[in-house]
């Protein structure tokens, strides 16, 4: 029914409204519509631009207030300024859009009032010239760029100030009980050490819990500021603590405190000092009334408790260090050492024994004296002595102080006692040596050959001399227990005998060398003139004797004649020089002929006959020498002598020329009677080295070296004759290059070392003799 009535009304209006419909498009109406739309557009743009205006921008004020409220209402979300800025940016955008909506509605309503035709949003934004979305987007960007940060900063600042105003009053000084709990928790970890400022400042969290700040939801700036305030409070508490701790330290350092001896009395003294400091602070006229002054902190009492015990130990150790220990006496020490001379032989071991014997009792005596001097009542004295004696054992510093004090006494006593005892013991041994003015010549030579001629560094080094040589009969004394100081005295006496012997021996050697140098030319002349070796030897010996006698007179030496080893050295030097001179003056043709003869002999691959060996051997004794001297036509050249020497060696290698560009190696294995000869070209150095080294058979070499006679013997018996060289190499050739010889020598040395090591033999000695003129590279 209603629908039909509506239809009727519509038709009637349609018929009656013909005139009014014609007026809708009048120019005035259209113009007024446009005017209203453009005016609204201008109002919209102006309104947008004024939204963030500093002065009277109601939108800006509204947004700032809403941001401010949002920060306070949801401080948890807005705690971090960075996150808050992001949230506020979104919130600002929403607010700006809402403001734009309101502005749109307002300008549209205003336009509708002044326009006979409707002014729609589309018409409005056509007048603005951009779409609604673009206008809103541009408005947001414009606002964000120009005003958002400023509004956030202002809102944040106001929110922080307000929150800080509301919460800062909660930050104050905690009650003493709570503070004691907080500080004691830290102090219990290190009860003997005062708290550092940082330790107290680290209670910030506990303080905030105590003040109830920790559970508040706060903006981070407020949180930081409250933390700073809490730290200021803790800083003041730290200052008060430092004052009390300082009072403790001063009291602990005071000399009268050291005289209190027991920890209980020391603790009472320290607490009294801390309490005095608190009272002194309270009576300070200029102190800040807002600052709470606390009583002695519980952690300070803990510190006193711990420090008093430490001070008890420290004062005890200081007493020990500053007190001269009077026990044990020298008599006690003398008795102890004499009761066990063997155990007390070494001074260090003796110190240990003495310390073990006397330290405990000595410490107890020192402690007892300390307690008696401290005015401790009789009733508690024994218990205190026991506790302090325990400190000596348990406390490192106390123990060291007591040990040092007691050791000082023991060392002083032991030194005197040991001097007395060792003097007595040495007296017996030195009595045996009193009649000995100098060492025998054989003894000196034996020491020289065994490389012991020199200052003895220990009695053990000299003991063999003492036991084995004539004139030094102190065996019985040595076998009796004695102190090491007695040994030192004996060693000193022995060195007084050895040193002049060594000096004399060295002098004899140096005189021989000097004579050899000075008489080199005279020797050449003698050889040239055909003077016999025997005559030369006599002249040399006479000259050495004369020179040495002069030195003995000037140096007041007790060794007036040459040692046998020096006589042998003279003979050796003379022979070396003599051979050298003879070789240099020998005729080359003769050498070549001799070499050819030797080559023929070796090629036979047979052992040298007894006759040949006799021919080749050089007579050692005076008679042979004389015979040789008398037959001047049989003078032996150095090369001949070297060849003869080689034939007697366990292993010998002879390199000789067999023609231009051709050489030969002859290898002889001494007592094995084996020989081998190989030829090589001297110009090809590498091939020559390979040929020469390859010519030596390692197995045969080892076999030949194994047949050597022992080099050393007991007391010189069984020693090798004066031909200690195991491998003799004679380079008779004048074509073999120097480099070839060097490389052959290196290879042979390595081979000998390898063979000797493999079989556990002494390293064989190698002697190398070469012709005087060698071709250079």
């Amino acid at each position: 029914m209603i629908r039909h009535v509506g239809s009727m009304v519509f038709v009637v209006l349609l018929l009656l409204g013909g005139r009014s419909g014609a007026e809708e498009s009048s120019p005035k109406m259209r113009a007024k519509q446009l005017l209203a739309a453009r005016s609204a557009a201008e109002g919209l743009i102006e309104g947008r631009d004024q939204m963030g205006a500093d002065s009277g921008g109601s939108t800006a004020v509204l947004i700032e207030k809403r941001l401010h409220d949002a920060m306070l209402d949801d401080s948890k979300t807005h705690a971090d300024p960075k996150e808050s800025r992001g949230l506020c940016r979104e919130r600002t955008n929403d607010e700006v859009l809402q403001a734009l909506n309101v502005l749109e509605v307002n300008v549209l309503e205003s336009a509708a009032q002044h326009s006979p035709l409707p002014v729609s949003r589309e018409v409005l934004f056509d007048s603005v010239g951009v779409s609604r979305e673009s206008f809103r987007k541009a408005a947001l960007e414009h606002y964000a760029e120009r005003h958002a940060d400023r509004l956030f900063t202002q809102a944040r600042k106001r929110a922080v100030e307000r929150q800080l105003r509301e919460t800062s009053l909660r930050v104050g000084y905690p009650p003493q009980d709570h503070l004691n709990v907080m500080l004691s928790e830290i102090a219990e970890k290190k009860p003997a050490k005062p708290l550092r400022r940082a330790d107290i400042l680290s209670c910030e969290q506990a303080l905030e819990e105590n003040l109830g700040i920790d559970k508040l939801v706060l903006l981070s700036e407020v949180r930081t500021r409250l933390s700073q305030l809490a730290l200021q409070v803790l800083g003041e508490i730290a200052d008060q603590y430092a004052g009390q701790a300082d009072a403790l330290k001063k009291a602990a350092d005071a000399s009268e405190t050291a005289a209190l001896v027991s920890s209980e009395r020391i603790a009472a003294r320290l607490l009294s000092a801390a309490a005095s400091r608190v009272e002194q602070d309270r009576s300070e006229p200029n102190r800040d009334a807002a600052t709470t002054l606390y009583d002695v902190f519980a952690c300070v009492r803990l510190l006193v408790e711990a420090q008093s015990l430490e001070l008890e130990k420290r004062f005890l150790s200081l007493h020990a260090a500053g007190t001269d220990c009077m026990w044990p006496t020298d008599v006690d020490i003398d008795k102890t050492i004499r009761a066990d001379i063997k155990g007390h032989r070494a001074s260090e071991a003796s110190r240990t024994l003495l310390r073990d014997a006397f330290q405990a009792e000595a410490a107890r005596r020192i402690v007892t004296g300390y307690v008696e001097g401290g005015g401790i009542p009789d009733g508690s004295r024994d218990a205190l002595v026991q506790r302090l004696v325990a400190h000596v054992t348990d406390d490192e510093a106390c123990r060291k102080a007591f040990e040092a004090s007691i050791q000082k006494r023991l060392d002083a006593g032991a030194t005197a006692v040991r001097e007395t005892i060792s003097a007595m013991q040495a007296e017996d041994m030195l009595a045996e040596l009193a009649s000995v003015e100098r060492l025998g010549e054989r003894t000196v030579d034996w020491l020289y050959e065994t490389e012991r001629l020199g200052v003895f560094k220990s009695l053990e080094a000299a003991e063999e001399v003492l036991r084995s040589k004539e004139g030094l009969r102190v065996r019985a004394v040595l076998e009796s227990p004695r102190l090491e100081e007695a040994d030192a005295l004996l060693l000193e006496r022995l060195n007084a005998l050895v040193v002049p012997a060594e000096v004399a021996h060295k002098k004899q050697r140096s005189l021989i060398q000097k004579l050899a140098r000075e008489w080199q030319n005279a020797l050449k002349q003698d050889v040239a003139e055909g003077v016999s070796l025997s005559s030369i030897r006599k002249r040399w010996r006479a000259e050495i004797d004369a020179r040495y006698t002069n030195w003995v007179a000037s140096a007041a030496s007790v060794y007036v004649t040459l040692f046998p080893s020096s006589v042998a050295e003279l003979e050796k030097v003379l022979r070396q020089h003599y051979v050298s001179v003879v070789e240099s003056q020998s005729v080359e043709v003769k050498t070549t002929e001799k070499a050819m003869d030797a080559t023929q002999e070796i090629e036979t691959d047979q052992r040298p006959t007894e006759i040949e060996e006799k021919k080749l051997n050089v007579p050692d004794d005076e008679e042979s020498s004389a015979a040789s001297d008398s037959g001047g036509s049989e003078a032996v050249t150095p090369m001949e002598e070297a060849l003869m020497f080689a034939r007697r060696a366990p292993v010998s290698l002879v390199l000789s020329d067999i023609g231009p560009g051709s050489c030969e190696l002859r290898v002889s294995y001494g007592e094995l009677g084996r020989q081998r000869a190989v030829q090589f070209a001297p110009d090809a150095a590498d091939a020559a080295v390979d040929t020469i080294v390859g010519g030596v058979d390692p197995k045969t070499l080892l076999e030949a070296l194994s047949l050597r006679r022992p080099r050393k013997g007991f007391l010189g018996i069984g020693r090798r004759s004066p031909d200690p060289v195991d491998v003799v190499v004679v380079v008779e050739s004048r074509q073999v290059r120097y480099r070839t010889m060097v490389r052959v020598r290196e290879h042979l040395g390595a081979l000998l070392e390898e063979v000797s090591k493999a079989e556990g033999l002494d390293l064989p000695e190698m002697e190398w003799t070469a012709a005087s003129e060698m071709p250079s590279e």
Binding site: M1, H4, M8, V11, V12, L15, S26, P27, K28, R30, A31, K32, Q33, L34, L35, A36, R38, S39, A40, A41, E42, G43, I45, E46, V107, S110, Q113, H114, S127, V128, G129
Partner: protein, 243 residues
């Protein structure tokens, strides 16, 4: 004898009455009432009303002689004023020439300048009446070649008394009002065109409508297009009422 359908209807009615359901007492539906009665009635009423309105506006009138002579001379003088103003040339807004967002048409400028006389219509109508009374029709116009004053000399009964003068002034006033309306429409169209063509943020635009109209009016006047006060002061003066 009843038909089977009627019998079934009767039986159904009896059954429904037995069940206690109410029976409709009307024989026609509401739709039938609307279509068959109300709509024709409404149409008849509408047509009658329209006919009455038409008869009241276009009835044949028999005018007096003085009135005929006077109206003829007033029409001639009014037509002369209308031609002189250039209004007939601007039968539509499209005739106005433009340059950018502003009109640049000397004829339209003349029209707007001349139209300022319409602002003071009483003086214009009095002027036109005097000119009409002095107007002498030319021969061939189907009228006496005498001015109305001369006619009155010959026919004293045609003299304009107060009532006749009032009639004449009203007649001229109606003509002036029509001219005013036409010029005003043209000017509104010009204003609308200007506003439509100006870019957003232009210096002649303002959120205050009165200020905006004042700015536009001043600019148009500077360009030789003075607006009628009815247009110019549509929103009041710049410092007066407005948005």
């Amino acid at each position: 004898m009843a038909k089977p359908g009627q019998e079934r209807a009767q039986i159904r009615r009896i059954q429904e009455r037995a069940k206690g359901r109410p029976e409709s007492v009307f024989a026609v539906s509401p739709n039938d009432v609307l279509v068959q009665i109300a709509l024709p009635l409404v149409l008849i009423l509408a047509i009658a009303t329209r006919l009455l309105m038409a008869s009241s506006q276009s009835g044949p009138s028999v005018m007096d002689l003085w009135k005929q002579y006077l109206l003829m001379r007033m029409d001639a003088v009014s037509g002369e004023w209308e031609r002189d103003s250039g209004l007939p040339e601007f039968v539509s807004f499209d005739r106005i020439q433009w340059e950018g967002a502003w009109p640049a048409d000397a004829r339209f400028s003349d029209l707007c300048t001349r139209a300022q006389e319409l602002t003071h219509s009483s003086s214009l109508t009095s002027n036109l009446l005097e000119r009409s009374l002095a107007y002498v029709p030319e021969a061939g116009e189907g009228d006496l070649v005498l001015s109305y004053h001369e006619l009155v000399e010959h026919y004293p009964e045609m003299a304009l008394d107060e009532e006749r003068r009032e009639f004449a002034l009203n007649h001229l006033e109606q003509r002036c009002r029509k001219w005013h309306a036409r010029v005003e429409n043209l000017q509104w169209e010009v204003v609308g065109q200007c506003v439509a063509l100006l870019p957003a943020g232009d210096e002649h635009l303002d959120k205050n409508l009165a200020t905006q109209m004042a700015l536009l009016s001043r600019e148009l006047e500077g360009r030789g297009v003075p607006l009628l006060p009815s247009v110019r002061e549509e929103y009041g003066t710049a410092t007066g009422e407005g948005q």
